[in-house]
């Protein structure tokens, strides 16, 4: 039996497969459709201090090789999350990582404090990367100093592991990643969606109510994969790959580029059973490759010596 568990940022995940924020809701929506014991962690929908209505519909468009969304961070807000959704997520047989987003470092800090002190919360994901929320000045995800301030504030507010989710859209993602690491992030999630749009030629109107949305799905994979490769050379903290993963081999590409774990989002929409397919495939590959723990794949494409860290359970 291959041990599929993996340790990232001090959290022991049953498998390296995490479910991406915004695609699984708070978890229970997929109860009965996904075997959560095979999910390393779910990342809940990004929560903001106050409830958000989200963007004007339509909010979805299909693209060849993916999709656009302009949800606009519709969520129940911190109070609704704490009083209802977090406990529901906590009842699932997997770890819960809560995604949070504020407008200022102080808002991030109070979100992290309130969510982090709850027993259901295994870790926090700092969403500094949502493309669907308009900001006045330079977007947070492109600003190393801004991100450092957010991570510093979050770090003071909680002892729980902090996952910093980056945007692939920043001109200098490396500086943002390094600033996040220096400020105390425990892991990076690489990365969120790219901005895009589509136009309906019959109505001559943008397909999304918000005009622009975030591109996810297979079309995004090569972009975010290259980022994982580059960032894993310049930061020491573990990387969680995200973008377009829908098969075992996609996940392995991210791991071989330097990721310790990975997230699946868009692929759930066509098939919630993608979780089983990917996890079964990982086990098969590991057997074929004679690898007894999956961390053996991390960075394998770089031909560097990667010591296979045995997990504590062994």
């Amino acid at each position: 039996m291959v041990d599929l568990s993996i340790t990232v940022a001090g959290l022991k995940l049953a498998t390296p497969l995490m479910l991406a924020s915004g695609t699984v809701g708070y978890g229970p929506e997929y109860d009965g459709l996904i075997d959560f014991t095979r999910v390393g962690a779910i990342v809940t929908k990004t929560v903001t201090p106050r409830p958000r209505a989200g963007n004007t519909p339509p909010r979805l468009a299909e693209t060849r090789g993916g999709m656009l969304n302009s949800i606009g961070l519709e969520n129940v807000g911190l109070d609704g999350f704490l009083s209802e959704k977090l406990a529901e997520a906590g009842r699932l047989p997997t770890l819960v990582i809560a995604s949070v987003a504020g407008e200022t470092p102080d808002e991030f800090a109070s979100l992290c404090e309130a969510v982090g002190e709850r027993g259901e919360t295994a870790g926090l994901e700092l969403n500094v990367s949502c493309p669907n929320v308009k900001r006045a000045r330079r977007p947070l995800w492109a600003d190393p100093d801004g991100v450092a301030a957010v991570v510093t504030a979050a770090r003071r507010a909680t002892d729980k592991p902090l996952f910093l989710k980056l945007s692939p859209n920043a001109a200098d993602v490396r500086s943002v990643a390094e600033a996040g690491e220096a400020a105390g992030a425990d892991a990076l999630v690489v990365a969120n969606t790219l901005p895009g749009m589509r136009i309906d030629v019959t109505t001559r109107a943008p397909m999304l109510g918000n005009r622009f949305g975030g591109l996810s799905g297979p079309a995004l994979l090569p972009v975010n994969l290259a980022l994982v490769w580059k960032l894993s050379d310049s930061v020491g903290i573990p990387i969680v790959g995200s973008g377009g993963i829908e098969r075992t081999e996609d996940a392995l590409e991210y791991m071989m580029a330097g990721a310790s774990a990975f997230q699946v989002g868009t692929a759930l929409f066509r098939s919630p059973s993608v979780v089983d397919q990917i996890v079964d495939g990982l086990a098969k590959h590991a057997v074929t490759d004679g690898i007894n723990c999956l961390s053996g794949y991390t960075g394998a494409a770089k031909e560097v010596e990667t010591p296979c860290q045995r997990t504590r359970a062994d």
Binding site: G22, T23, V24, G25, E29, Y30, L33, K45, R52, A53, G54, N55, T56, P57, P58, R59, L60, A61, E62, T63, G65, G66, M67, N69, I71, G72, E74, G209, N210, G217, T266, L268, F269, R270, S271, P272
Partner: protein, 270 residues
């Protein structure tokens, strides 16, 4: 096209108005939602599908006996009026004070139903019409389409009872199905529940007429869907309580909670 699907795992119950979410192949990121248009005595699910784009074409090209992946039944369906409970308001109306207050009912008279469908909207009300007939509810059926060829009245349980409208006048009433309903509903009592499925503009117009007649009204809506289970918030429509998902809170909504499309009341993005 009528697609009959034998299920490996039988649905326990299907509410009329609920839908299935169908995987039409790896070329398409999203599944495609289709109303459960019927359930055969053997428990097979019937889908009535209009060809639109790649997904529906892929289904049309499937050979007989091919296997498909779908999930369901999903969403909230129509609330059936109860023929025995004289004057009883529908469940949805009961839980919604706005609707209950708006519809004065003739005490003692058995509740009636009017089913109004435009285009492929017939698929969304076919099972409903069948259940209404089975339970003995006095039901009027109205079906519209652009042309006589596109009319789907023949797929309904009692096709002879259906009143039809075509936009080009090639069969039946010349005009929209909502105009037909407006003309013919004058004689229907106030305790008639109006059920609608079709293009959004038709449904918004129907809600106005039903409101003027003091009738309860339930409408089945369509939106582009990703997850189909309420997780992604992609399929929302504006209601008086804010955005609600078509896949989980709907697809059937009480007309009194819906904000008509394009109206100034629509929730501003933020």
């Amino acid at each position: 096209m009528l697609l009959t699907c034998r299920l490996l795992t039988q649905f326990e119950t299907v509410e009329p108005g609920q839908f299935v979410h169908v995987d039409t192949g790896p070329e398409r990121t999203f599944r495609r939602p289709f109303s459960v248009a019927g359930v055969t005595p053997a428990g097979e699910v019937e889908l009535l599908i209009e060809l639109r784009g790649g997904g529906t074409r892929a289904l049309a090209e499937l050979p007989v006996g091919a296997s498909l992946t779908m999930m369901g039944p999903l969403g909230r369906g129509f609330t059936l009026v109860d023929a025995r409970a004289a004057g009883a308001p529908s469940r949805a109306a009961e839980s919604d004070p706005r609707a209950a207050g708006a519809a004065p009912r003739a005490a003692g008279a058995a509740p009636r139903a009017a089913v109004v469908a435009g285009g492929i909207g017939v698929a969304g009300v076919r099972l409903l019409a069948q259940r209404l007939f089975e339970s003995g509810v006095d039901t009027s059926l109205f079906v519209g389409a652009r042309t006589a060829d596109a009319l789907l009245d023949a797929t309904l349980p009692e096709p002879d009872a259906v009143r039809v409208a075509t936009d080009d006048g090639s069969r039946g009433f010349h005009g929209t199905v909502c105009d037909l309903f407006t003309a013919e509903s004058v004689d229907l009592p106030g305790n008639t529940t109006v059920y609608g499925c079709g293009p959004r503009a038709m449904l918004d117009a129907l809600a106005v007429v039903a409101g003027e007649r003091g009738m309860a009204c339930e409408l089945s809506l369509e939106e582009m869907m990703a997850c189909g289970v309420g997780a992604c918030r992609g399929c929302v429509v504006s209601t008086v309580d804010g955005y609600r998902t078509v896949c989980k809170d709907g697809p059937v909504f009480n007309a009194s909670v819906l904000v008509p499309e394009g109206s100034a009341m629509e929730v501003a993005g933020g």
